[in-house]
Amino acid sequence: MKRYSRNHSCITEIDQQLLAKSKVCVLGAGGLGGYIVEMLGRIGVCDITVVDGDVFDVSNLNRQLISNNLNIGMSKVLCTYNHMREVNDEVKINPVNKFINKDNSDKIIKGHDVVVDALDNNNIRKIVFDSCKKLNIPFVYGAIAGWYGQVTTIYPSDQTLDILLKKASNKGKEKLLGNPSFTPALVASIEVSEVIKILTHKGELLRNGFLYIDLLANEYEFNKF
């Protein structure tokens, strides 16, 4: 199919069929989530649930891909749904216009092949990962603050999230450091490449450790536990 011709051959025909049949749940439709959904849809993941109860705000415009001057005040997931219809109408977007929490987490992520983290707080990450463990779903973690980012892939049996979040407060340094346009784009790209490797069973995953990115110092360090 010509739409995906430039995916080949790093994505084979068989991989492409696997992606088309895969279900991915993206939690958050902000800085990371907008890029993640866009990239998953363009590469040909054809069933994407996107979860966020928030609306776009003027302060999102510096980095959140789906936000624009015309959709301020509108639901992030509904704007993402409409945007993706224009990008790739083969993609089924399931917009969930609510915040994920302890009561709805299992129900929302059930049935997906991968859950992708585009959340902005650690308490919810812990809740979601508990659901992932229960439902045996891999979780691709991503977090950003200023010039810095972290990415890792966590399978249900892995201890990674406990180590990452055991001492961490609910919010990180992002309130102080802000979030520029380039950090979410980079971290989202790495998260999507992890998702594609999980779905197509190829390559090496960022597991049992975490990739720490410092764009200010140009350091990319995988800290393996």
Partner: protein
């Protein structure tokens, strides 16, 4: 003998990337953090020789620490 401390991101401000602390029997990460004027709440990940570490664990000669501040945004 020294303990090598690798600092990351904002923890480097005013301290540098790598700091060496003289080793003594009983030295802990908590002592090193106090010495470097780093509050516990500014530490999200503390690794001792690349493994998950505790603030109060006793360090051995030639141990090294990696200390990361919290990053949580999306």
């Amino acid at each position: 003998m020294e303990v090598k401390v690798k600092l990351f991101a904002t923890l480097r401000d005013g301290r540098g990337k790598i700091v060496y602390i003289p080793f003594f029997d009983g030295i802990t990460p908590a002592y090193i953090l106090k010495h470097l004027n780093i509050r516990h709440e500014d530490v999200a990940i503390l690794l001792v020789n690349g493994r998950d570490g505790e603030f109060e664990q006793k360090l051995l000669e030639e141990d090294y620490l990696s200390i990361f501040p919290p990053v949580g945004g999306g």
